[in-house]
Symmetry: D2
Subunit: 160 residues, 4 copies
Amino acid sequence: MAFERMIKNAFEESRNNCRFGDTLEEIREIQDYIKNAKRICIPNKNGIKVEVLNKVLSEYDLPSAEILHINTNTADTSRIPALAKAYMALDQSDADLIIARGRLGIPGSGSLLIFIDNKGRILTAGTSPSHVIHKKSIEQAVYEEACEALEKIGFEKVEK
Amino acid sequence: MAFERMIKNAFEESRNNCRFGDTLEEIREIQDYIKNAKRICIPNKNGIKVEVLNKVLSEYDLPSAEILHINTNTADTSRIPALAKAYMALDQSDADLIIARGRLGIPGSGSLLIFIDNKGRILTAGTSPSHVIHKKSIEQAVYEEACEALEKIGFEKVEK
Amino acid sequence: MAFERMIKNAFEESRNNCRFGDTLEEIREIQDYIKNAKRICIPNKNGIKVEVLNKVLSEYDLPSAEILHINTNTADTSRIPALAKAYMALDQSDADLIIARGRLGIPGSGSLLIFIDNKGRILTAGTSPSHVIHKKSIEQAVYEEACEALEKIGFEKVEK
Amino acid sequence: MAFERMIKNAFEESRNNCRFGDTLEEIREIQDYIKNAKRICIPNKNGIKVEVLNKVLSEYDLPSAEILHINTNTADTSRIPALAKAYMALDQSDADLIIARGRLGIPGSGSLLIFIDNKGRILTAGTSPSHVIHKKSIEQAVYEEACEALEKIGFEKVEK
């Protein structure tokens, strides 16, 4: 029962017109969920993104992830391919945290790296423009998206 | 028939394992769609975000948007509140471009500003952390998200 | 602007706790939309379902549909495969009415035949159990689902 | 790890063009999940639907459900209101089975009663036309939808 109470409270606040933005407690709950994840999966055909993501997770002192071998090509026909990939991993594994990367929307819309919990709820995300716009290597793009996603919810790099 | 052919092509490429990322042509189609939008709507209760967004649209020499008065509080119970707001506007208006802003995912996950077309397809997006993380004014956050969304698909500010 | 006003009204009723179920006017608007559809598409690999569906459409004196050749296998990885197929057709064609059939949910959950409009909104649907439960031919199952979907919104077979 | 392996297998079959419909094993897995549910929740404002649903569950010798008090009005702005209600219950409780009833699609499209598991996956469903079409009492409509949903996945009423 990770987020249920917090979601219920936020929902009541919205309904009563007394919601004034996210709170530090909510952000800390997301942080705790990620810190305590028992099985982090990354759906992917090959291991390149996984190496980069584990480098990032380590820099923020977070548990490491494993690859979930799925041919996620089929996700490209979905409205939000990155989310479709995440749901494929959710439906085919017992991971409690999934990190997936794919297109944000239609072709040309760039990429989205997304963290979802064991019920498919979005915890955080990072985005990049298409490669033809940013010209970065895929490793660099994934690295920056993951850092963006983690810093967005208050994580900081840890000195080692 | 704005994006149908391009989506069909990209889909075939994915299925045949010969998709190598977004192309400049795809990005230009998104740009053309936005430049030629006849009615741009922003679902909102009040006008603050609309003023900021019109300032941004003007800086990139794009057509201006109008407010669509909807109480979008109910969107907060959705999995992706920003997208739920966009769909509320899509379903209740004849806009061909909708710009909506709301929470990205669960409480604490920050905000998402999203552009969708007349069929509900995502064209681009910008994101911010929660206010308690970034400490910016809402005007500044909306401004930066909108610039991020437009530059992500290759638009540049126009000297006036 | 087929359904926008009606959706706006229903939404206001719900929000004000004075929505008392669907009205005859709403059902008639759905009927009119289907009667006046200019291009009805059925996403499919082969033509069997299309023949059956056109037989049904004719029995209810409705315009006939055409096949949209798409390999919709990839939809099976979605949460609602029937809806994913419908959206693939929506995104790759200029149809204003799409009839798609696929699995309802997870494997074993049976099938769903769904009608969506040109913005992806669900107009009606029919369902069947899995073949191993009902033992009917696929033609018979599709026939009955389509009749169910049409009668659900008040259409009746026309004597010829 | 209830359905993960079965979903993975079905996915591989689809991808390899050797999926020939749902299997009895898949249907039995859905049955087992429902029989063994530890906490069944029904999101609702009042108790009427819950009484009817518990009557049905008892007739099929299944564990009984409890009400989850949520104002689900806001779900009516979603594309599939019944599913949106189910997700509200999923996100605000620790139920491992949720039964929700709401509109199928746009106003006029009738109602959908849906069973989802602890990850939000659809197990089965029953539907009704709008009240103005079928003229049944709400109790009768809910009763029939629930029986339809259970018989669709092979459950039979138990003599007592």
